[in-house]
């Protein structure tokens, strides 16, 4: 338990150091934040929007906000949850204003299959194609899960956040997180078994 405490304190110190360096004009500080969290923010935006181009735009816009506000980060939460909160709020805001969410990873044309974007050199083309099919199917089903449950499932199963971190990102109680993840998974299970 003590080791976990030391680790979280070390992470907090690193987070605060990055914010301070950014505050005083060290450009490398933001590059480090970007390199560390770009993939996570992009994947979150991709699953919430269902569109790669839109996810790329959302990622850029999220990091623009992070750039503007990183100097005011005070470490009341971990930098990771602070960034996810900014990303999630931006995705919600943009997607609710401009179009209904989740239209289309699953609906992409066959001449540009999802597999060409997969980055796993250890797998052969057949395995990648199967994985791409499965990924499309999960995306299609996730799109039918109510957004509150979907967000919780994505933050847990895709981003690997703890329930406590998810509660911080979503601004809800731990019991609500538990409930949303369970209901989201149950609905997704029904959809997957139903062959949607």
């Amino acid at each position: 338990m003590k080791a976990a405490t030391i680790t979280s304190e070390a992470v907090r110190d690193l987070d605060l150091d990055l914010a301070e360096r950014h505050r005083v004009g060290d450009v490398q500080a933001f590059d480090e934040v970007y390199a560390r969290y770009e993939g996570m923010v992009y994947n979150l935006a991709l699953r919430l929007s269902g569109d790669r181009d839109e996810a790329a735009d959302l990622t850029q816009e999220t990091f623009l906000r992070i750039y503007r506000h990183l100097g005011s980060f005070r470490g009341r939460s971990a930098l990771k949850t602070w960034i996810f909160r900014i990303a999630l709020n931006h995705c919600r805001d943009r997607l609710s204003r401009f179009r209904p969410p989740m239209q289309s990873i699953a609906e992409e044309t066959e001449d540009e299959p999802f597999s060409v974007r997969l980055t796993d050199p250890g797998r052969d083309p057949e395995e990648l194609a199967v994985a791409a099919d499965e990924s499309r199917r999960v995306s299609r089903c996730l799109a039918h899960v109510p957004h509150a449950f979907r967000e919780a499932v994505i933050l847990r199963d895709l981003e690997g956040l703890s329930y406590e971190e998810i509660a911080e990102v979503l601004g809800v109680r731990m019991g609500t997180v538990r409930s949303r993840i369970a209901r989201g998974r149950e609905q997704l299970r029904t959809l997957l078994e139903g062959g949607t």
Binding site: G39, N43, A56, E134, S135, S139, R156, R185, R189
Partner: protein
């Protein structure tokens, strides 16, 4: 525990987020209930499917070299 376990407890257990008392009761129940073991396996499958579905979706190269 004679009744079946709620999805919420099964799901939290899967994530290592169930409370100690829940965990003890659940594990005792799972030892004798094939139905709940099956539901736990199904939830585990869903979680893994989501995990596998996206971790390899890399951002476009232009985004990384902005």
């Amino acid at each position: 525990m004679n009744l079946h376990v709620s999805s919420e407890i099964l799901s939290a257990y899967l994530d290592g987020e169930s409370r100690p008392a829940e965990t003890r009761k659940l594990e005792a129940h799972l030892a004798s209930c094939t139905s709940c073991r099956g539901r736990l396996d199904a939830l585990r499958g869903v979680a893994r499917a989501v995990e596998r579905s996206a971790v390899r979706a890399a951002p476009p190269a232009w985004l990384a070299t902005r």
